[in-house]
């Protein structure tokens, strides 16, 4: 509650009866995000008995276990020991990161909320396109829908709230913005974030050897193109995007 003492991080909490969540902050920050990714990798390397699945969110590492196996009573002390091993917020980013340049139509009828988002951010439409397309953002987590990245952080001017009402549907490949983050949608879905750009990038390819294209730590820039230049997603799942390994 509001009058409780300031929470200290990292913090371990139970998530349901078969999960534990280790949080490195209560809001998105670059060090907390790096810590969550590195700590998950360390848990995977440790290979503890009873752990069934691990994952990360923006600032947390999650592990799921058999509640009737070694369980939380055994795993929680193991987590505490591992947390004490080092300063996880000083950890390096994952290896093998890549930089994607993804063609994007800003505004027009393909992304009808650009003007509204620019207005909320106090920018002209031209300034908004310039700012969003110049930003080199990093995948902080994959979540909500298969292969779907949260990307951040944008300049402070983009610290705009989610909408109060949901947009009933935005198409696959939609680029949406709120709270200094971008999300690139892997499915057609309703959202509370504002639809500012449209790409033809397919993030989830179940039939492919790499079904989930982006990984946490990858970086991206959303390069402006005219609507008629945007590739057809069905013909080119990359939607004209290029990628290179970050060295």
């Amino acid at each position: 509650m509001t009058d409780s003492p300031a929470q200290t991080f990292p913090r371990i909490r139970s998530a349901g009866m078969d999960g534990l969540l280790v949080s490195f902050g209560d809001r998105l920050s670059e060090p907390a995000n790096r810590a969550a990714l590195a700590f998950r990798a360390a848990i995977d390397r440790a290979g503890w008995e009873g752990v069934e699945e691990t994952s990360t969110s923006l600032v947390s590492t999650y592990l799921r276990f058999d509640p009737l196996g070694p369980g939380a009573g055994t795993l929680r002390p193991q987590l505490e020991t591992l947390l004490g091993d080092r300063d996880w917020s000083a950890a390096d980013l994952p290896e093998g990161r890549r930089f994607f340049r993804i063609p994007t139509v800003y505004g027009t009828d393909r992304a009808p909320q650009l003007a509204e988002a620019a207005d909320v951010a106090g920018l002209t439409v031209e300034q908004a396109i310039e700012s969003l397309s110049a930003a080199r953002v990093r995948v902080t987590t994959i979540g909500f829908a298969p292969g779907q990245p949260y990307l951040g952080e944008l300049p402070e001017v983009w610290d705009i709230p989610r909408q109060s009402a949901l947009t009933p549907t935005v198409p696959m490949g939609a680029l949406v913005v709120a709270i200094r983050q971008l999300v690139l949608f892997s499915v057609t879905t309703p959202t509370g974030w504002r639809h500012v750009g449209q790409t033809a990038f397919r993030l989830f390819r179940p039939e492919s050897e790499t079904p989930f294209v982006l990984r946490p730590g990858d970086e991206a820039q959303f390069v402006p193109v005219a609507p008629e230049q945007l590739a057809n997603m069905d013909e080119d799942p990359d939607g004209g995007a290029t990628s290179e390994v970050i060295r």
């Binding site: 509650m1 509001t2 909490r13 139970s14 998530a15 349901g16 009866m17 078969d18 999960g19 969540l21 902050g25 209560d26 809001r27 998105l28 998950r40 069934e52 699945e53 691990t54 994952s55 990360t56 969110s57 923006l58 600032v59 947390s60 999650y62 799921r64 509640p67 009737l68 369980g71 939380a72 987590t141 994959i142 979540g143 909500f144 829908a145 298969p146 292969g147 779907q148 949260y150 709230p161 989610r162 109060s164 709270i179 892997s186 499915v187 989830f204 179940p206 039939e207 079904p211 989930f212």
Partner: protein
């Protein structure tokens, strides 16, 4: 051509399901799988086969099915009207149906999700480690008229038995443990939450089940915006309109709405099977009580095989007695 179950017609919510996917959460893909996990175990017990084989899940409405070989089946979950070539078939039971016979499964009469299990399982290819359709992720799609679902090799076994009817199909009390954000809710709201008789809204699908609140809704103090955080099946999120929403098999994997509690895995079948309008109530339990509930649940599943009772069939209900293999199927019938 391999043996198949021919789909002559199907309701809009008929999908192939199994236990879903483990290990894809980090990629944004939730576990998915059957809405009523207990029904999977019941079907496995009735057919004496492993519990990880794929089945047909039927939301609200079944369909018309015809096997291209003699086929052992079991019918579990929400009770539906079922006939074989026009003769009534018992629900919650296993049957041998001959090649070419038409199995007609109608609307649900209590509960929400019915299941058709087949000997050997439905043998569609695995995608990302499971056979289940995950509609929210665009993996697979509902089965439709004209489909031929491949049938797995059946090791054979007895049919003609039934399981005593469970009472999870009318709503009731569901146990919850505190969630990540439970302590963001004022104490008064948590007490009211535990005392409220919710009704299952008509808005429910494989992603989640919405609950109606007659009086005041629920919300966290100060409209706090929580950082998007991991979701687990059973999380009860409270959206802007104040109504609780139980997140189910195909839920999103992260979300920004606060969650007031998490339903125990062993009670999720009850939430899934509550028909629209049924009363659901929530009771907070301690972690120790939750573990004890899980222990008991697994023991019950283990004991299912011992609960089987022979099905007494009324010969008047069997239209063409001679077409039936009355010596209970020791094999799938292909060697006679």
């Amino acid at each position: 051509m391999s043996d198949a179950l021919i789909i002559h017609s199907a309701g809009p919510g008929v999908t192939v399901q199994d236990r879903g996917r483990s290990g894809t959460l980090a990629f944004g893909l939730s576990r998915g799988g059957a809405m009523d996990r207990l029904a999977l175990a019941e079907g496995a017990a009735l057919l004496n086969q492993p519990g990880d084989l794929a089945v047909l899940e039927m939301a609200g409405m079944g369909g018309r099915f015809e096997p291209t070989r003699d086929l052992r089946i079991a019918l579990t979950g929400a009770k539906m009207r079922a006939t074989l070539d026009g003769a009534k078939l018992a629900w919650g039971a296993s049957h041998m149906i001959p090649q070419g016979a038409v199995l007609d499964i109608g609307p649900v009469t209590s509960g929400a999700y019915g299941y058709l299990h087949v000997g050997g399982g439905i043998d569609v290819p695995q995608v990302l480690g499971a056979r289940s359709a995950h509609l929210a992720a665009g993996l697979g799609k509902p089965v439709a008229a004209g489909d031929r679902l491949p049938l797995g090799e059946d090791g054979g076994g007895e049919t003609g038995s039934f399981l005593p009817r469970s009472e999870r199909f009318e709503g009731g009390t569901v146990r919850v443990v505190p969630s990540l954000q439970t302590d963001l809710f004022p104490q008064e709201q948590l007490e009211r939450f535990a005392q409220t008789r919710f009704r299952r809204d008509t808005r429910a699908n494989r992603m989640g089940v919405r609950l109606d609140v007659a009086g005041e809704g629920f919300s966290v103090t100060g409209g706090l915006s929580v950082v998007s955080e991991l979701i687990v099946p059973g999380d009860i999120q409270v959206t802007g309109d104040g109504a609780p929403f139980v997140l189910m098999a195909e839920s999103q994997t992260t979300g920004g709405y606060p969650r007031i509690g998490t339903v125990l895995p062993c009670d999720l079948s009850r939430v899934a099977q509550a028909p629209a309008g049924a009363v659901l109530e929530f009771r907070f339990v301690t972690m120790d009580e939750a573990l004890e509930a899980e222990r008991r649940y697994r023991a019950e599943i283990k004991a299912l095989g011992g609960q089987l009772k022979p099905l007494v069939r009324d010969p008047h209900d069997i239209r063409d007695l001679l077409a039936y293999q009355l010596i209970s199927g020791v094999t799938a019938g292909r060697d006679i």
